[in-house]
């Protein structure tokens, strides 16, 4: 199913024509209305007239999260506050939050973009959609809320936390679609089980996962626990919130809304643009944003883009699941390690729970990685040798995936912290 079929199935030539026209408008809009961009472009010797083809984007300097922070709160807004109808902000783990704004037209685009990914995942106006993202300044909850309302689903803004009540609502209201972070949706299934329910007590059929990465292994666990079909989607508040890209039912990459976002993939060290199909840091230009436009924004997210049309009929390019963030990446003994690689190993073992914690230390001039996992398989308790065998098996698999040794510690079930929002799984003690 499609929400805006004509757009979602445009041929590549048409997509590029739309992108060029919008890029030219955007550069002009930024140059004329944002002091920061005006100075940046002047310094780089680029005038809006210089943009004649899509590849001319290379003359424009990158924008970073630090640039946005430096202009806190509204220094990068491109319209007068009179035209802004919504303000959101992303949680700043360090210092001030990143503040973004939306005009009426931005809001309309945003809800249509979320509607596209919801419909692509199989959602419809028949659905009863429960949103277990935390509401507030965070774009995730309201973003999905507006998009699902747009397609006519019955939206339950249950927000996050109070998990037993969430489960009760899911059951009593006959929720058919759940929106949440993968770790929280999985945690909800544990709580439902503790409350004495089985998956047959629920009508849940679809899960829209977001806000944190979801490996295929994690997705399988969620699908098994709830008996639902889960898709992944991608976005970030600076770009618009959720709606930048999302999986269709084939789940072979997340379709980028290329009519609104021009994506590039770069090498985060050399800052060179990589050829199509290579893996690197995603850089996004927001082609239609009025209130908070971004030119070549460095997302720090590592992915790869596939421009082949999809069997679902969509021609919009597909990006891989985020492999990691260039700043989440752990450098251990000189090797790049992404928590998502470790997750894929942990989640595929039936003997341990999908919750895990990584502890990185520096001991005797050497980095060490410890992976704490919760033992849930009682049948291994007959012999120490079986527990040791499980540790060695996980260790060997981690070594295959990461290329370095990691210590595996078995801990008691539910002894690791659960997260209602984005899971924080790394403890770096270096």
């Amino acid at each position: 199913m499609f929400w805006q079929k004509e757009i979602e199935t445009m041929d590549r030539k048409k997509i590029e024509a739309v992108q060029l026209e919008r890029l030219q408008w955007l550069v002009k809009h930024c140059y004329q209305n944002v002091r920061f961009y005006h100075d940046r472009l002047d310094k780089a010797g680029v005038t809006p007239e210089r943009i004649k083809t899509l590849s001319d984007i290379q003359y424009i300097p990158y924008t970073t999260k630090e640039d946005i922070r430096d202009h806190y709160p509204f220094g990068m807004f491109a319209v007068p506050m009179k035209q802004v109808i919504r303000i959101h902000a992303s949680s700043g783990t360090t210092g001030k939050p990143t503040v973004v704004g939306y005009t009426r037209s931005d809001m309309e685009n945003w809800s249509n973009l979320v509607a596209r990914l919801a419909v692509a995942a199989g959602a419809s106006d028949e659905d009863i959609a429960q949103i277990s993202f935390g509401y507030g300044l965070f774009t995730g909850a309201l973003g999905l809320h507006q998009g699902l309302e747009k397609i006519g689903a019955a939206v339950i803004p249950s927000s996050s936390g109070n998990t037993e009540k969430q489960v009760m609502l899911m059951k009593d209201f006959g929720t058919t679609l759940i929106v949440g972070t993968p770790s929280y949706v999985l945690y909800m299934s544990e709580v439902a089980k503790e409350m004495g329910y089985t998956k047959d007590d629920f009508k849940i059929r679809l899960g829209l996962m977001g806000s944190e990465g979801c490996t295929p292994e994690m997705r399988d666990k969620i699908e098994e626990a709830w008996g639902l079909f889960a898709t992944d989607n991608y976005g970030m508040s600076e770009l618009i919130g959720p709606g930048v890209s999302g999986e269709c039912e084939r789940r072979e990459g997340m379709h980028i809304a290329e009519d609104h976002f021009l994506c590039e993939v770069i090498n985060s060290s050399s800052l060179e643009v990589l050829p199509r199909g290579e893996t690197g840091e995603l850089v996004v230009t927001t082609l239609t944003k009025e209130a908070f436009p971004l030119l070549r924004y460095r997302t720090k997210d590592i992915t790869r883009i596939n421009y082949e049309p999809c069997a679902c009929g969509r021609t919009m390019a597909r990006m891989d699941k985020i492999k990691g963030r260039s700043d989440d990446m752990l450098k251990i003994r000189g090797v790049n390690v992404f928590p998502s690689q470790i997750e894929s190993v942990i989640v595929s073992s039936k003997s341990v729970s999908p919750n895990y914690q990584l502890v990185v230390r520096h001991e005797g001039f050497r980095d060490t990685l410890e992976v704490n996992v919760e033992l849930v398989d009682g049948t291994l308790l007959e012999r120490f040798s079986e527990l040791e065998a499980l540790e060695s098996k996980l260790k060997a698999k981690l070594h295959t995936v990461l290329g370095i040794d990691a210590k595996v510690n078995l801990v008691e079930p539910k002894s690791l912290e659960r997260f209602a929002g984005k899971a924080k799984r790394v403890v770096d003690l270096r």
């Binding site: 033992l375 308790l381 007959e382 008691e412």
Partner: protein, 144 residues
């Protein structure tokens, strides 16, 4: 003849054993025999209790990883060489012993009680019976 034993995964952290024994005590579970073997990181606590099924559920609800397995309980002659005599019988029959541990001492009986874990309970029970070793039944173990 076959006795049910609980195995509980315990992390080497202060207070874990206290928590397990408290939750069992609060629920009226009587511990008949126990053994705790540990490595530097974790241990396996083995318990014989008066109501194994109930205790398993209580511990699972309290968030522990638990399993229920079958073992044999033997009443031995309480004299020097009593255990050695039984182990010799098993060795001669080619039955390997995984582990053995003793009961809490009770003066009410005139024999020493041990729990024994072997690969094949039925075969071991048969061999021991043939050689006149007293096998305790579940009723004797759980409720005496």
């Amino acid at each position: 003849m076959i006795i049910k034993q609980l195995s509980v995964f315990v992390e080497n952290k202060p207070g874990r054993l206290l928590e397990i024994t408290s939750v069992l005590g609060d629920n009226g579970i009587d511990i008949r025999a126990m053994s705790l073997a540990d490595t530097t990181k974790f241990g396996i606590l083995r318990l014989i209790v008066n109501e194994p099924g109930k205790a398993e559920n209580i511990l699972k609800e309290a968030g522990f990883t638990v399993s229920l397995t079958q073992v044999l309980a033997l009443g031995l002659k309480d004299t020097p060489g009593g255990l050695a005599a039984v182990l010799k019988i098993l060795k001669q029959a080619g039955i390997e012993v995984e582990y053995v541990y003793a009961f809490f001492v009770s003066c009410a009986v005139d024999y020493a009680s041990v729990i024994i874990r072997v690969e094949d309970n039925d075969k071991a029970a048969e061999v021991l019976k043939e050689n006149g070793v007293k096998l305790l039944d579940a009723e004797e173990v759980y409720n005496r």
